[in-house]
Subunit: 410 residues, 2 copies
């Protein structure tokens, strides 16, 4: 798979979201877990949908993940996802698990579904118990519809310290019919996926079996959700779920389908869009940082180097200060665990080369500063070890990151 | 070796430093690499000394490290260390290497030593060339003495963003004679050793061959210098050097010497003292954080967990905000790469238990906040996987860290 290639026929749908694909409804309400913001949402498919999931690789996994895995293993199908913010229901012991099952059952009862057709997701503070009376009341308030306004409500309901909602939608022709995919996500801090990174929900009307959908998701996760970092911390609640309800009417997709690569690109583009939106909205961030690494022996090496650079507090503070301090970039590379020849390293901010084949370049600080003051910073690193490439996304480290996290819980 | 045991007979020498052991001189001067602060220093032993060294494990190693390694490999002896701050002489290509050798030769000439008896160390900005005219003039100004005031000058000359000098000295009886050890260090940012962490210089009048001294240093490095982190970044210039000139007159130390463990403890206590001073003076830090992990299967596992907790930006910001957010501690543990049973984890701030066997404890927020507002925060984590222990040290993440690093280079 040529991973940096775009399939020209994939169309971005402006203002698209999780209900842009056929056969999905959603809602978001204020259940009272938070003072005034919306805090409970649901996505429903009209019919049971194929499902793919990836979860945090943390040893500590929150109760909702157990419940979701339990739901999926029954039939490999889901018809809905019930999500709350404010409380992560993580490290809450037996009571937490009981609460997560109860949340699933309450939603199943409200929407007349078998409980195992529902996934549960939570995000918020770790170690606090769910306020189940509020969850119960909130579920009663949910009135899902396919209207965009309800998708916006859902997107808002899943946020924590996020400052903006995250969404996207794309479509492409497969088997002569239009296949559409939409996404919603939340994530701002505790973002350093070894797998997922946050909550990510993707809907599509493509026809595809769950096993193939899982294969597709696993194929692109390492290049998208796993390549963003805000602060190096991996959440206990990370989860990405993809629902595919087949309403588009294409031939079922699988690796032998002639347009399998097209579908992979559709999923990759949707995932990358959500991942970048999350990185850009990192806690306290003022800019998105993209790091492209070229010329490594393996894709893995390029991805590790890119992510180590993006994750460096010193690179992140220099980005905030618009300081062309490339020494911190090569220092981060040096500790990435990947071996390379320092005398063959070239580093550029955008097109501005600052280190060439290991020797400092006498560049214009003025031009560098002007470039670094923009809200997108692209760091391009070239080695001469091979022909592979990799990209990672992150954000700068600012006073506001400290402010947000020195007082998050209270 | 019982690593947490202290040898009762080791005495701390108040106001002790690198010239407290017999037969060492030092000096620090303003060479002009910086506007007004001292920026060039030297340590000299009266006679060639046994030497042990550990270096950064970064793929990128600065020129002075190459020169130091080259010096040591000739005879395994050193008589002095010439050190500058302000410029790291890293990523400076062929010119940088030439400059580092020239710095060595100028010092050798001034003090009438064979060049291979001198080590070179640099710290400061990466990617800038050395101002050799200033180095040359500075070396001419160096007038080493065994006086404490010159040790203070040296300690100041090696600092970068550090706010305080770091020093210590201890003594112990070995073979009926007093063996003394002293240390000086710098390090404040780019501190996340995989080996060293910063510049650390230890002097002792103990008699010991270089190979045994290296064994001793390698034994304790993983429990001291390698267990501190300020910001997760590993420098290109990290180096710890130990010089032992034998002036104390003890029988040469080796693993078969009956007091070998005593010497190991002396070196460990000196190293731990310097390491903790560095962690406490982390860029922008307001407090030292110590994390003790008990009850793991291996010491390695305990050290990894402790260091992952100490390294978490979210734990560090919560510490700054005096927020008893233990969820961030267990989240960091979960991503440490060490497997454990979450239902057997107990977490305490000092003596205040907040999570017991995986279940949240209803603790007093007032008492927790009062504890967390102190300038030493001890996080105690207990697992029930085995009987090993490990400790790591770090500091909180504050507005000032961002301030310092958003404008360090300019």
């Amino acid at each position: 798979m040529k991973t940096l290639q775009r399939v020209a026929s994939i169309k971005k749908i402006e203002q698209g979201n999780i209900v842009t694909p056929q056969g999905f409804k959603t809602a978001g309400v204020h259940a009272g877990l938070r003072y005034s913001k919306k805090d409970l949402g649901i996505i429903l498919s009209d019919i049971p949908a194929s499902v793919a999931a990836v979860y945090t690789q943390s040893v500590i996994q929150a109760a909702p993940l157990d419940v979701t895995k339990d739901s999926i293993q029954v039939e490999g199908k889901l018809q809905g996802i019930i999500v709350n913010s404010a409380c992560a229901n993580a490290c809450t012991g037996k009571q937490g698990l009981k609460d997560a099952y109860e949340m699933r059952n309450l939603a199943a009862s409200k929407f007349d579904l078998a409980p195992h057709y529902l996934a549960v997701a939570s995000t918020g503070v770790i170690g606090e118990y769910m306020k189940m009376d509020k969850i119960k009341r909130g579920i009663e308030l949910l009135e899902p519809s396919p209207a965009d306004k309800d998708a916006i409500d859902f997107e808002q309901a899943i946020l924590t310290t996020d400052t903006v909602t995250k969404n996207c939608a794309y479509s492409v022709e497969i088997d002569g019919v239009t296949v559409t995919m939409g996404g919603a996500a939340k994530g701002s801090g505790m973002i350093h996926p070894n797998m997922a990174t946050m909550l990510g929900f993707i809907t599509t009307d493509a026809a595809i079996e769950s096993a193939d959908l899982q294969l597709a998701l696993s194929t692109i996760t390492d290049q998208t959700f796993n390549q963003i970092t805000v602060d190096g911390d991996t959440s206990t609640n990370d989860m990405v779920l993809v629902l595919a309800n087949g309403k588009a009417g294409n031939q079922a997709l699988s690796p032998t389908h002639p347009q399998w690569d097209t579908f992979i690109q559709l999923l990759k583009q949707t995932s990358e869009s959500l991942a970048k939106q999350i990185a850009k909205d990192g806690e306290g961030a003022t800019k998105l940082i993209e790091c492209n690494v070229f010329g490594t022996e393996s894709k893995h090496a390029a991805q590790i180097i890119a992510k180590t650079i993006i994750g460096s507090n010193l690179v992140k503070t220099a980005a905030y200060g618009a300081d062309a301090n490339w020494g911190r970039i090569i220092a981060a590379m040096g500790r990435s665990g990947i071996d390379f020849n320092p005398q063959q390293v070239t580093i550029a901010f955008g097109d501005l080369v600052v280190l060439e084949d290991g020797e400092p370049v006498d560049f214009s600080e003025e031009i560098a500063k002007a470039y670094l003051e923009q809200d997108l910073l692209v760091i391009n690193v070239t080695l001469k070890e091979g022909s592979e490439t990799g990209t990672a996304w992150g954000c700068d480290l600012t006073y506001d990151y400290v402010k947000i996290n020195a007082s998050y819980r209270s």
